[in-house]
């Protein structure tokens, strides 16, 4: 990276900070919530893209890691009397009943726990390949959800948790999103990142070049799980209520849609499409409501929105397999060229 790029990145971050400040002060709650969701989906998308896009492991267990993150943060940050209120069926077990942590350590522990589970799941499951891995990770996510539904005295079972303190604000979500992007960029451009990509392209070739397949796969999976846990924690404390039914396969599907649309293997693509998908998920809510065409009223059909999104995913996969960005990344040179409408220099420096 050149000096100019550092300045430009710095300026962009300052502009983002000013924008967040204004948004925090003047935007209404609904828009702030959508902006928060955009950042959280960016984190989740990046964590899944690391596993699926960069390392080429088709994992469908993301909802499970998010559930671990969301529940850890929620249980740790719930106030003592809110816990007493939540757990009216069966009291919460002793050490958890009286803890009330600040947001950051709770979030960190959520990430670490999720990473630990990711490691424990990954170590055996990553011996599998392709669709077997997909179905095994899907199975693990489902097992986590069933366990959470049944452990009444830790997670409050199917009743879910309510009155989770709304700690997630724009600063937290965008701060962590920027941090995640930075970590991903550094990771992907490191020797580890090159090893991940080599595994994605051809496992056998990568192994014969001396890359330790197992170590790198588990590493990618664990890091992905860590950020998925943090994303889940942010989501839980944004929404205020969580229950196990939230963390079904549909949630994994939404994130899969984001990374496929953005391009498997592109950080920039994931960020763009996280915003696109989250905003259009909200903007297309009108599809579920009756539409008045003046002379004719189309009755609202709940679920129409998801039909549109399923069709969108299929169109992307069938006709634009590389998504928005393929595996290209944003860089300042290209960006400046685009805004200056300058043609790139030809070979030999002629214009």
């Amino acid at each position: 990276m050149r000096k100019r790029d550092y300045y430009l990145t710095g300026v962009t971050l300052i502009i983002l900070a000013i924008f967040l400040y204004i948004a925090d002060m003047y935007f209404d709650a609904y828009i702030v919530r959508i902006l928060n969701l955009c950042a959280i989906y960016t984190i989740l998308g990046l964590s899944m893209n690391l596993i699926n896009g960069f390392t080429g492991l088709f994992s469908l267990g993301h909802a499970g890691f998010m559930a671990i993150g969301a529940y850890t943060t929620a249980i740790l940050t719930l106030s003592v009397d809110a816990k007493a209120q939540n757990f009216f069926m069966e009291p919460i077990i002793a050490p958890l009943a009286n803890v009330e942590w600040p947001f950051f350590p709770a979030l960190l522990l959520a990430g670490i726990l999720s990473a630990l589970v990711g490691f424990l799941i990954g170590a055996p499951a990553l011996r599998l390949k392709g669709d077997y891995l997909a179905i095994a990770t899907l199975g693990f996510a489902e097992i986590i959800r069933v366990i959470f539904t049944n452990t009444q005295n830790i997670t409050n079972g199917a009743l879910g948790l309510k009155r989770i303190p709304p700690y997630t604000n724009l600063w937290w979500s965008y701060g962590i999103a920027v941090f995640t992007i930075a970590i991903m960029v550094l990771l992907i451009n490191s020797s580890y990142g090159r090893a991940f990509k080599a595994i994605r392209e051809d496992e056998i070739a990568a192994e014969s070049m001396g890359i330790n397949l197992f170590k790198h796969k588990v590493m990618s999976f664990t890091i992905g799980a860590f950020f998925a846990g943090i994303g889940g924690g942010l989501l839980g404390n944004l929404l205020g209520t969580i229950d196990p039914a939230m963390f079904k396969f549909t949630l994994t599907f939404n994130i899969l849609l984001i990374i496929v649309l953005g391009g498997m293997g592109s950080i920039t693509g994931t960020v763009i499409s996280a915003f696109l998908v989250t905003i259009s998920l909200e903007a297309l809510r009108f599809l579920d409501q009756p539409i008045n065409l003046g002379f004719f009223v189309i009755p609202g059909v709940a679920g129409m929105r998801m039909v549109v999104f399923s069709v969108l995913l299929m169109i992307v996969v069938l006709f634009y397999r590389h998504g928005l960005m393929g595996n290209k990344e944003f860089n300042w040179d290209k960006f400046l060229q685009v805004i200056k409408f300058k043609k790139p220099l030809l070979k030999g420096g002629k214009n």
């Binding site: 088709f58 179905i135 489902e142 396969f249 069709v311 299929m314």
Partner: protein, 296 residues
């Protein structure tokens, strides 16, 4: 646990297992020929119960409504293959799987939009649901009909695959697409036939499922779909005998788990996945599967 109760549970387990086996065959045949988990199979099964529901709902007698259901489901299965899988035949595997997941979600959401999200009561036909007494066991007639129908279908299927030209073509395509094409086999048509057979079995399974558990809703295909895929993996994916064994094993052991360990009822849905993971870790090729070595 009295012996009578045990027999009763066993009868239930066998009839559930037969249903699992019928659906698992669809997965295993498609996997055998395309190396693809047809995620949409569970939803094709769901659509079949809805077709049957509306057939009877509009006043058709069951012996007309059910064959129509099978035909519609077959068309649906072939349609899914044509739109979602055919153009991706040479694409990377990950794309095909995403397309399969997309097709599955599309069917689920279409069902929600068209049929409504609220559960509907499947019409009970007296002829199937009458309770009969065998000795001291009281079971629905259906509990016996299901395994018998399954057995007949299995015999027909095994004849089709082992004795007819279509079956030979299917076996050839599952070994090697290119060589099969050189031998003059129409690959597209063979794959289409495979989807048609799988969907027909799913339709029959769906109708019997509706009669046995008479509450249908748009997401009902997800869990049976996943479990039947697991059954196929347990038996060794790609092998039809394996799928049947896996289906029966899963059905019977699930019923027995709930019967013997009442407190584990909440974990019923996780049970199949735990078995799956154990099988994948210790014998990834399943009971009947062959070891496939990787070619460089």
């Amino acid at each position: 646990m009295t012996p009578i109760m045990f027999l009763q549970h066993l009868a239930n387990g066998i009839s559930l297992g037969s249903l699992y086996a019928l659906i698992a065959i669809g997965y295993t045949m498609v996997y055998g020929i395309l190396r693809l988990i047809n995620f949409a199979h569970g939803d094709i099964f769901m659509m079949a119960t809805y077709f049957a529901f509306f057939g009877v709902f509009f006043g058709l007698p069951w012996y007309i409504a059910f064959p129509i259901t099978i035909i519609l489901t077959v068309l649906l299965g072939m349609g899914v293959e044509l739109t979602a899988y055919r153009s991706l035949r040479d694409a990377p595997k990950i794309s095909i799987m995403i397309s399969a997941i997309g097709a599955s979600f599309l069917l689920e959401n279409l069902a929600i939009v068209i049929f409504g999200g609220r559960p509907k009561a499947f019409p009970t036909e007296e002829i199937f649901t009458k309770v009969v007494h065998v000795g001291d066991i009281a079971v629905q007639r259906l509990t016996f009909i299901i395994p018998v129908v399954t057995a007949i279908l299995l015999i027909m299927l095994s004849y089709l695959i082992n004795k007819t030209k279509t079956g030979m073509a299917m076996r050839a395509v599952s070994k090697d697409h290119e060589t099969a094409r050189l031998m003059g086999i129409n690959i597209d048509r063979t794959i289409s036939t495979t989807f048609a057979i799988g969907s027909a079995l799913a339709a029959i399974g769906g109708i019997m499922w509706g009669l046995k558990f008479p509450q249908i809703q748009p997401l009902m295909g997800v869990m049976p779909g996943l479990k039947c895929f697991i059954a196929a993996v347990i038996g060794g994916i790609g092998s039809i005998t394996g799928a049947v064994i896996g289906g029966f094993f899963l059905g019977v052991s699930e019923i027995m788990l709930v019967a013997f360990f009442q407190s584990m009822t909440g974990y019923r849905d996780a049970f199949a996945f735990i078995i799956l993971i154990i099988v994948l870790l210790f014998k990834p090729t399943g009971i009947m599967g062959e070891k496939i070595s990787e070619k460089v």
